[in-house]
């Protein structure tokens, strides 16, 4: 595994994890009144 390979893996995993956690925090968190 090259350094750029690790870099790609880290970026993609971080992005996917962040997006999923953010979305699910909105879904499971307290509901705001829709705009």
């Amino acid at each position: 595994m090259t350094t750029t390979g690790w870099l790609f893996l880290a970026c993609c995993w971080t992005l996917m994890t962040f997006l999923t956690v953010w979305c699910f925090s909105k879904i499971l968190g307290p509901q705001r009144k829709p705009r």
């Binding site: 993609c12 997006l19 879904i27 705009r35």
Partner: protein, 519 residues
């Protein structure tokens, strides 16, 4: 049009809806197709066109389909014939919308059978039925025998038995309806899928180097096989097409199933965050979990050359021939094998129920059938048509239906729905529909992406796929003469289904159910 169905069913909970939608999207492709595609198309560099396609194609289409579905549901239309009639007051609209019922049906005709193989292999893993077969060629032979090669009518009794179980399970789940059937399956099945996938990834990552005598065959190098970027591949248009295709299939856009599920939303429910959650859950499973299982473990046990050959042999080769060999070499191999195939089974069944639901909803909404009647008719049709695939598996009927419904069809339908929703209904109306009830506003840039980039992307995909595969499929290039009759049979059967549904649409029009919609 008046609100014809005030008692229309709704999703029970928001998380249930997200899990059901994610279940629709997460399929065998997340665990088998994605790693193979990444390996064959530039490794880490594949992720650049992959994320471009996610932003320009996947997410906008996802939002469009969710918004269309919610709009249709609010007016009593849960499938695209009715939804398109709302968006475009033209007699043709409902017939174009039929694609959103015919293509998911076509896919489910073979998907249930493939799903049955995963259930069967989960049982075979638990009982150790294939243990003792230690090479890929042997496992291919085992799969082939299970699929009925050499058996009378080309069907093995065991394979057919598992098909009956799988099909019955699908029907049983659908008999519960949206909240008590599909949503309940998702709330139980999806956490199991996540748990099994995470446990398997942990096992793969703790493998290290299985054979110390060959230190280069390690899990880390297996990850490198997927992630090390080959930037020269970015100049290859086929890589960009493959990435767009992967996004298209993995998110299950262009099937008509998302609109159908979204039609059971309430009128002011959010679609922006909920739709994005579905996409992100799917991507999490695909990129992080799917990319860390089959290829890295295959690399650690087989090495670079053989893994490349396995990957080039296709996704089924990887899942059904290579993985069972690996499980035999691991401690608790029976347990791990059972988890792997049961995980694939859950991924499959949450998708197959979504593919059958549009016809059920159509029969209920547009023809006034009861749930029981609609389910019986849908199940009956799917059961009969599945036999075109089961009996003709060794003659290429699965590939034939897969091309027309799963490749050509979905690209054509996605292009049609984008043009109708964005350009005919109007970009401002479409955007307002997406934004309605949004918990978080969608970034404005997606308005322009949806208006210009997504249709163009889809047009390129549709033309490229038709150009690449169409002539060969149409003229049956390389197909043995004995198999050509089978393939023609599959085509005629699909045409018959389409014409039958056209008749139902015209009957619905006569019943004034598809003509009263107003924009």
């Amino acid at each position: 049009m008046s609100e014809r169905t005030p008692s229309r069913e709704h999703w029970g909970t928001r998380i249930g809806l997200v899990l059901a939608m994610a279940g629709n999207a997460i399929g065998l492709g997340n665990f088998l197709r994605f790693p193979v595609q990444a390996t064959q198309n530039g490794g880490g560099a594949f992720m650049i066109p992959y994320f471009c396609a996610l932003l320009c194609l996947g997410i906008p289409l996802m939002w469009c389909e969710w918004a269309m579905g919610r709009l249709g549901g609010s007016k009593g239309h849960g499938t695209t014939p009715g939804i398109f009639t709302i968006l475009w007051k033209h007699p043709l609209a409902k017939y174009i919308g039929l694609m959103g019922i015919v293509f998911p049906l076509g896919v489910v005709f073979y998907y249930n059978y493939v799903e049955a193989w995963t259930l069967a292999y989960a049982v075979f893993s638990a009982t150790g039925k294939y243990f003792g077969i230690t090479d890929v060629a042997g496992m291919k032979g085992f799969l082939s025998t299970f699929q009925g090669a050499g058996a009378p009518l080309g069907v093995s009794m065991l394979g057919y038995f598992f098909f009956l179980i799988t099909f019955s399970l699908n029907v049983w789940i659908l008999s519960g309806g949206i909240a008590k059937g599909i949503e309940r399956l998702a709330t139980i099945g999806m956490p199991i899928l996540f748990l099994f996938a995470i446990l398997l990834v942990v096992r793969v990552f703790t493998l290290g180097t299985p054979d110390p005598a060959v230190p280069e065959n390690s899990v880390v190098n297996g990850l490198g096989f997927i992630w090390n970027p080959d930037f020269s591949q970015l100049a290859n248009s086929k890589v960009w097409l493959a990435a767009a295709g992967q996004i298209f299939f993995t998110l299950s856009v262009g099937f008509g199933a998302i609109q159908c599920y979204a039609s059971y939303l309430r009128e002011k429910d959010d679609v922006v965050v909920t739709g994005l959650s579905t996409a992100s859950a799917n991507e999490f499973v695909e990129v992080i979990l799917g990319g860390s299982l089959a290829i890295p473990i295959a690399f650690a046990f087989f090495g670079r050359t053989e893994t490349l050959a396995i990957a080039q042999g296709g996704s089924f080769n990887l899942g059904f021939a290579a993985m069972p060999i690996i499980f035999q070499k691991l401690a608790f191999g029976k347990l791990l094998g059972t988890m792997w195939f049961f995980l694939l089974f859950i991924a499959g069944i949450t998708s197959s129920v979504a593919l059958m639901q549009p016809l059920i909803t159509f029969l209920k909404d547009e023809l006034g059938c009861t749930h029981k009647k609609a389910l019986t008719a849908t199940a009956g049709l799917c059961f009969v048509m599945a036999h075109v695939v089961i009996l003709g598996l060794h003659h290429g009927t699965l590939d034939e239906i897969d091309f027309w419904c799963g490749t050509f069809g979905v690209a054509l339908f996605a292009l049609a729905e984008t043009l109708i929703f964005v350009w005919v209904f109007g970009p401002d109306n479409a955007w307002a529909e997406i934004e309605k009830g949004a918990q978080v506003p969608a970034p404005r840039i997606f308005y322009y992406v949806m208006k210009y980039v997504t249709p163009l992307y889809l047009l390129v995909l549709f033309v490229a796929w038709t150009w690449q595969q169409g002539p060969a499929v149409l003229t049956m290039r390389g197909v043995a003469p004995a198999d050509q009759a089978w393939r023609w049979g599959a085509r005629l059967a699909m045409l018959g289904v389409f014409l039958g549904l056209c008749w139902l649409v015209s009957r619905s029009t006569r019943l004034k159910r598809l003509t009263e919609a107003k924009p």
